[in-house]
């Protein structure tokens, strides 16, 4: 599948150290125009650091970073007019209201869509007259989200944007991200809410310890992993254990359970077919399983929706 696409974000071999800590260690990441790109990894993997380098807040040590084919360090302000950023931890000015902050950020980006601003405030059920100090974490995040989604930009950079939102607000958020993409926008979405990534993202990059360990469409990633199969057969099947790519085989009479490398599914099902399939369940790996496979030892609580 070769298509010529324009890279909005193009990072290769990026390293960044803080004192003795190597936060990024040769990271690669490409986001092409029009896609929603999921950026996944456990806490401390380097997601936020990557985004901050991309926004010109942090200076890279080495590697190549291009944003809209420009240098994000040298011409930060010009590039920033074309994007909107929502940080994971939104801090507001205690004596400015949410409405004032939305206008402030929107205008500094070059203008707001008034109609959409009104609509977003209503949909997110945000009170724009409250002062920054009296918003909860979720409401602070809504302020930043409204400011970003109402801005007229090409790229959204979202760093765990829904960690403080309830499920209803999360689905409002997802709806607007989908609409943004439908209008031709590009999104870089860092998250560890896997259901959200599965619903929104076209492509995903998994990073661990400052490196990209896997990148591709969800389909491609699934291809690299195993499918679980449960089958009831007419008679016992032979040769399944010897088949390359089959793991964790469990046979109880005519019932077999096993996992098989997704690339080998065909051969395995062929064998089952020979033994007469009565019923068959084949489950492709969820993103959660994918995630666990990559980070299993480093991730105590996958699927926890709220990190706070």
């Amino acid at each position: 599948m070769v298509t010529v696409t324009e890279a909005i974000v193009d990072i290769s071999g990026l390293t960044k150290t803080f004192g003795a800590t190597r936060a990024l260690d040769g990271l690669d990441l490409t986001v092409t125009r029009g896609e929603v790109h999921g950026f996944l990894g456990p806490n401390g993997a380097g997601k936020s650091t990557t985004i901050r380098v991309l926004l010109g807040m942090l200076r890279k040590d080495s590697g190549e970073v291009r944003l809209f084919d420009g240098d994000p360090w040298g011409s930060a302000a010009d590039l920033h007019r074309r994007l909107a950023y929502v940080p994971g931890e939104v801090n507001l000015w205690p004596n400015l209201t949410g409405g004032q902050v939305i206008d402030l950020l929107g205008r500094l980006r070059g203008g707001l869509d008034e109609e959409r601003r009104r609509e977003l405030i209503e949909r997110f059920e945000l009170d724009p007259t409250k002062k920054g100090r009296s918003y909860s974490k979720g409401n602070r995040q809504k302020v930043a989200l409204v400011a970003a989604l109402a801005s007229d930009v090409e790229l959204l950079v979202l760093d765990e944007p829904t960690s403080g939102l309830d499920p209803i607000m999360e689905s409002v958020f997802q709806e607007y991200v989908e609409r943004f993409r439908a209008e031709g926008g590009t999104v870089l979405l860092s998250s560890h809410i896997l259901a959200e990534v599965e619903r929104l993202c076209d492509r995903v990059s998994l990073i661990r310890a400052g490196r990209c360990v896997e990148s591709g469409t969800l389909g491609e990633l699934r291809h690299l992993t195993r499918t679980s199969v449960v089958a009831e057969l007419a008679r016992p099947v032979a040769g399944l254990a010897e088949l390359p790519g089959v793991h964790d085989l469990d046979v109880e009479g005519n019932r077999v359970m096993f996992e098989v490398d997704t690339a080998r599914v065909d051969a395995a099902i062929g064998l089952l077919h020979g033994a007469g399939i009565r019923s068959l369940t084949a489950t492709p790996p969820t993103l959660e399983e994918l995630f666990l496979r990559h980070y299993g030892d480093a991730l105590p609580a996958v699927g926890e929706a709220d990190a706070s």
Binding site: L55, M57, A77, Y85, P87, G99, Q100, L108, S134
Partner: protein, 523 residues
């Protein structure tokens, strides 16, 4: 009261430097009065003459308190230090209470602790106890230092005790304020206003209708009349009010929800004005409050100095030392006095300059810079707008001081002709103030974590102005202070060269800070 002692222990540990700082400041305030009065007048006749002149000065009485036994050292100490001492312990109590009650609640840290096995009132009681103890410490050390001076022991003990009780009253009112609003800033506003009202009531009362002084806890404290017919019963009023305020705070605490105040937070505008979304407009909006506050502060300070008029000679007495101090520049005594007054106003105003120059660091520390710099706003423009705000604010704060000085002087002498010159004189201090701002900017650009060291520059300036010549410190050391190079206007005539050189140094520091900031990581 499960958990109270644990809380208290943490608070005392976290506050130990605060205790030390406030206590040292207040003790010095009282003790230095005793020392300076003793050194100022060589004969009792001279002292009597100065006292008579002070008793007749309404502005002084409004500032300090009722004039009693002013021809004694004890009387002078009580008069000059007690009102300010009470205000200072009031502020101390307010901050100690605020930082452990409303501020913790607002930040959400308290919630974490409260969810553990502690009783509901534990943090409140611990904060109260901590503040009460701090006031005991201050009062006890003030008493001790005065007894050691030596002044009459029972009266000196009353001075300290009354001060402690005053602090307790303001601890109670601060505790009430913490229950009323949900924001720490407004809590400080209410508690601070309470102190200001107490001070103002006694000022008006002491000058005219004396019953007003009896509405103020500071008036009660001064009504104990130490060194001039000591009586203890007004102390009981203080104790009763402190207990009543504290009790009220506990009742209110029981009636409100965690995190909220009894008064609902007021809503603000839902849209931003057109100016807010410009770099300069935004930076001004952030610092507008401090600029106004500090300008009013220096103006009041100037008013206080100015209201001494040209009566300076009588106040200072005939002792050679005092005349030497004020006539350093070789000009007249009055000019010498105002040169020192302007320097003091300038040093106070530099407090604004340094805190304003450190504002970008506070913004960065609190994580509010990232969202801004991720827009079309460049680092350079963001920081430059902050610099402009600091410069404009510094000019306003200094002009406020000069205007207050000129107006106070005009009120007492009927001569408005000094307003203009005083304004120009204070303006000369823009240069050293901006050197300190430049230093803060440089540190912020290069070593943001150490940016607060800029306060050290101001400290150096204070020490060098007041003690440099007295201690005969070497010239190069005094020369480190930007204030050292400036002419002591109006005692000396203004010199352009040091003024311009200081401005160039400030610009160089600031520019280097800008360049460094453009190159470093922003967090």
């Amino acid at each position: 009261m499960t958990g109270t002692t644990t809380y208290l222990r943490t608070f005392l540990r976290r506050d130990r430097w605060h205790y030390l700082g406030w206590t040292a400041g207040v003790v010095l305030l009282y003790y230095s009065q005793a020392v300076s009065v003793k050194g100022l007048y060589t004969t009792q006749a001279e002292f009597d003459k100065a006292a008579a002149s002070m008793e007749g000065n309404t502005a002084f009485i409004a500032m300090a308190g009722p004039a009693r036994a002013l021809n004694t050292i004890g009387g002078q100490v009580m008069w000059q230090a007690s009102a300010f001492g009470a205000v200072v312990v009031g502020l101390m109590s307010m901050f100690l209470v605020g930082r452990h009650t409303r501020a913790e609640e607002e930040s959400g840290r308290d919630e974490l602790l409260r969810a553990s096995a502690v009783s509901r009132h534990a943090s409140l009681t611990a904060a109260l106890t901590g503040a009460l103890l701090a006031n005991v410490l201050v009062g006890a050390l003030v008493s001790l230092s005065l007894v050691a001076f030596p002044l009459d022991a029972p009266d000196s003990i009353a001075v300290g005790t009354g001060l402690t009780l005053c602090g307790w009253v303001f601890t109670g009112t601060a505790l009430v304020a913490a229950q009323l609003t949900s924001s720490t800033r407004s809590m400080y506003g209410i508690a601070g206003a309470t102190i200001a009202v107490a001070y103002a009531l006694r000022a008006v009362g002491d000058v005219g209708s004396s019953w007003l002084s009896w509405l103020s806890p500071i008036g009660w404290y001064q009504g104990m009349h130490p060194y001039s017919g000591l009586r203890w019963w007004p102390g009981l009023l203080l104790l009763a009010l402190a207990a009543a305020a504290t009790g009220a705070a506990y009742v209110l605490f029981g009636r409100r929800d965690f995190g909220s105040g009894l008064w609902a937070a007021r809503p603000g505008p839902d849209r931003a004005g057109p100016k807010l979304a410009t770099a300069l407009g935004f930076s001004w909006r952030l610092q507008r409050g401090p600029v106004i506050g500090w300008t009013v502060g220096t103006a009041l300070l100037g008013l206080a100095y100015g209201s001494i008029g040209d009566d300076v000679g009588t106040l200072l007495g005939d002792s050679a030392t005092s005349r030497d101090v004020f006539a350093q520049g070789g000009g007249s005594l009055v000019d010498g006095f105002y040169a020192v007054a302007i320097a003091v106003i300038a040093l106070v105003g530099a407090g604004f300059t340094v805190s304003s120059a450190l504002r970008p660091r506070a913004e960065e520390d609190e994580g509010r810079v990232e969202s801004l710099l991720a827009t079309g706003l460049s680092r350079r423009r963001w920081l430059l707008a902050q610099v402009v705000t600091t410069v404009v604010g510094t000019v306003l704060v200094l002009l406020g001081g000069g205007l207050g000085l000129g107006l106070g002087y005009a009120m007492v002498t009927g001569d408005g002709g000094r307003i203009g010159p005083f304004l120009l004189d204070t303006l000369a201090y823009v240069a050293p103030s901006l050197v300190l701002a430049g230093l803060a900017r440089l540190l912020y650009g290069v070593l943001p974590r150490w940016a607060s060291l800029a306060w050290g520059g101001l400290g150096l300036g204070v020490v060098m102005i007041f003690f440099g010549p007295l201690l005969h410190l070497p010239d190069w050391l005094q020369g480190l202070s930007p204030y050292h190079h400036l002419a002591l206007v109006p005692a000396e005539s203004f010199r352009w060269v040091p003024f311009v050189v200081l401005l160039l140094v400030a610009a160089a520091f600031s520019g280097a800070g800008q360049v460094a900031f453009a190159r470093r990581d922003v967090h």
